[in-house]
């Protein structure tokens, strides 16, 4: 899932400073499961903003609405009729949600209430860890299912650096060395020999280096699209 966390209240207050009427829009998908931008968090943030702006002597109207998935046009349709009532909208979706809304309803401005952090999973309640950096060319088959792109600080492809000590990465004592994990896993799978195969330098064009990415599936596109 996409993992995000709420921006500090003061930062959000600064963003909405010039608005009198504000709408908070949550998202019912990834950011709901990571407790950052679902109905409950929208409710809590709206209450906090109402109280805080009132204490500052410029109490604002802060209303709440949550859609099922901010990153798809259809789900945002119910928002359309509400927007006229507000000066500004704070999205509690991920960065994709915020941009979808700005693109879909250009007559209104949508600002981010969250910091979108990474793609990962909850490893225990209240703890999320990064697992994939969307490099666009997955190599998990070669690394025992552990990603050196997202989990090795140096994104090494051919084994650990000299900073790997007792399974711990040199950057932080609570960060496991990805290459130690890869080695142990390959050992468990009886696939150490695969690690001995030299990996050439990665082609980063499928990742961020190639600019913004796009996937086109002609088999799924509608004929009507071509006629446009």
């Amino acid at each position: 899932m996409i993992v995000a966390e709420q921006k500090p209240l003061n930062e959000i207050k600064t963003m909405i400073a010039d608005a009198e009427r504000v709408l908070l829009v949550g998202c019912g998908t990834c950011v709901t499961v990571c407790f950052a931008g679902g109905t409950k968090e929208v409710d809590l943030l709206a209450t906090s903003l109402r109280m805080s702006t009132k204490l500052d002597g410029n109490g604002k109207v802060v209303d709440e609405f949550t859609v099922q998935r901010q990153c798809e046009w259809e789900y945002n349709e119910p928002l359309k009729e509400k927007l006229d009532d507000y000066d500004l909208v704070v999205s509690l979706g991920c960065g994709v949600g915020v941009q979808t809304l700005n693109e879909q309803f250009p007559q209104k401005q949508f600002v981010p209430g969250l910091n979108t952090a990474f793609m990962g999973l909850p490893t225990e309640q209240g703890v999320w860890e990064e697992r994939c950096a969307a490099c666009g060319n997955c190599i998990l088959d070669k690394t025992g299912g552990i990603c050196p792109i997202a989990r090795c600080a140096k994104q090494l492809l051919n084994g650990p650096c000299g900073g790997s000590q007792n399974g711990v990465c040199e950057i932080e004592s609570d960060v496991p060395c990805a290459w130690q994990l890869i080695w142990e896993r390959a050992n468990d799978l009886g696939q150490i020999d695969r690690l001995m195969e030299l990996q050439p330098a990665k082609d980063w064009r499928t990742s961020r280096d190639g600019g913004p990415r796009k996937i086109v599936r002609e088999d799924l596109r509608l004929v009507a699209h071509e006629e446009e």
Binding site: P8, L9, N10, L44, S48, M51, S52, K54, L55, D56, G59
Partner: protein, 70 residues
């Protein structure tokens, strides 16, 4: 008592949440001391009365919630 909860570690989890609420109140601009968690068993009548007296004193000192008068 702390850590000795019918729901196992329930009151330790609750403490974290109370601390979160307290911090949130500070962020909003109210006093964090407006919420407090005190562990007590049902046999601690005197301590309960004392805790209630202490809390009342704290709240009197801070004064009424300014949002109520706005």
């Amino acid at each position: 008592m702390e850590g000795d909860c019918h729901y196992l570690e329930g009151n330790l989890n609750a403490r974290r949440r109370v601390e979160y609420v307290s911090k949130l109140l500070e962020e909003i601009g109210l006093e964090g001391q407006r919420v407090r968690m005190i562990n007590m068993s049902s046999a601690m009548g005197a301590q309960f009365a004392q805790a209630a007296t202490d809390m009342t004193a704290t709240i009197k000192e801070i004064g009424p919630n300014p949002l109520r008068e706005m």
